[in-house]
Symmetry: C2
Subunit: 180 residues, 2 copies
Amino acid sequence: MEVGLVEMSVFLRICAILFLVLTASLLGSDAQTKLVFYLERKATFRDLDALIILVYVESGAACYYLLQVCKSPFSAWFEGNLKWPSPICLAWVCFLLDQAYITFAANSAALESSLFAVTGEKEFQWMKLCNRFTRFCIQIGGALLCGYVASFLMAVISFLSAFNLFRNYSPKRFLSLKEK
Amino acid sequence: MEVGLVEMSVFLRICAILFLVLTASLLGSDAQTKLVFYLERKATFRDLDALIILVYVESGAACYYLLQVCKSPFSAWFEGNLKWPSPICLAWVCFLLDQAYITFAANSAALESSLFAVTGEKEFQWMKLCNRFTRFCIQIGGALLCGYVASFLMAVISFLSAFNLFRNYSPKRFLSLKEK
């Protein structure tokens, strides 16, 4: 693996970590209290299951990326010295773990449930919330935007690790390694 | 491109088309009418925006896959005779279009909004629906399951097209094609 690809991938991973942490902390710190019909009501991200799941998913992804970034200075050593797992095994593991599907799905689920809070659902008598908890909703919107930026970066990273894995294979025969 | 990869990818695409069509038709045909407080109420997939979007996304994906399956008998001809777009351009286009992120996200958003229909959200006074519209909800559950199977197949197809693209590149230098 030459320097260009490693450096690009580390840079992208650090950007992704920043956006993941930003998303999780924007969501985690989001709370607003309002008087509704003489009752004090507090809206937090814990009211919507999708937002709780999103916080956990983004935090987990950030930890995994941090591990990957910490690993990368030693990757040349891994490739030279390691007998098992072989570099191609490691590339397969990275490729499978780097898939951004879970964060993308968690983001979309959170977006969907937040949209209910914005628009309500008249047919089902689900009332809208964002006319009351405006600041709360805007902060969630910002968090989701950061989450999508992070997902996009993660998709690019998954392309890079697919590139890093599959270019070791022969263009002629299926799933056979090429001679160096 | 040898025969094994083309055949596997066509087989997977046909399976994915079947599951996509099954999802869309299960959702599209889902409707239940019930008497609620002496008023007749009808629940259809059109009540939830996420389900409408899912029907469109799955139908679009099925059409795209059908085009790809129709194209594949001619792919040998494309690779031999076409000057522009070159086979590597075509492989890039397939790789980018084959990404399963959109169906996966649409599925998760639909799952999230359906979960509200199952559990309700007491804090926000969103009432649950599935105790009344049981058959309707079970059919949606089946549709979402088929949708996830389709998404999984699409993810495998996207791995195959990544393999088909990136194995043409050199394992030594970044983004340079290897000599045949």
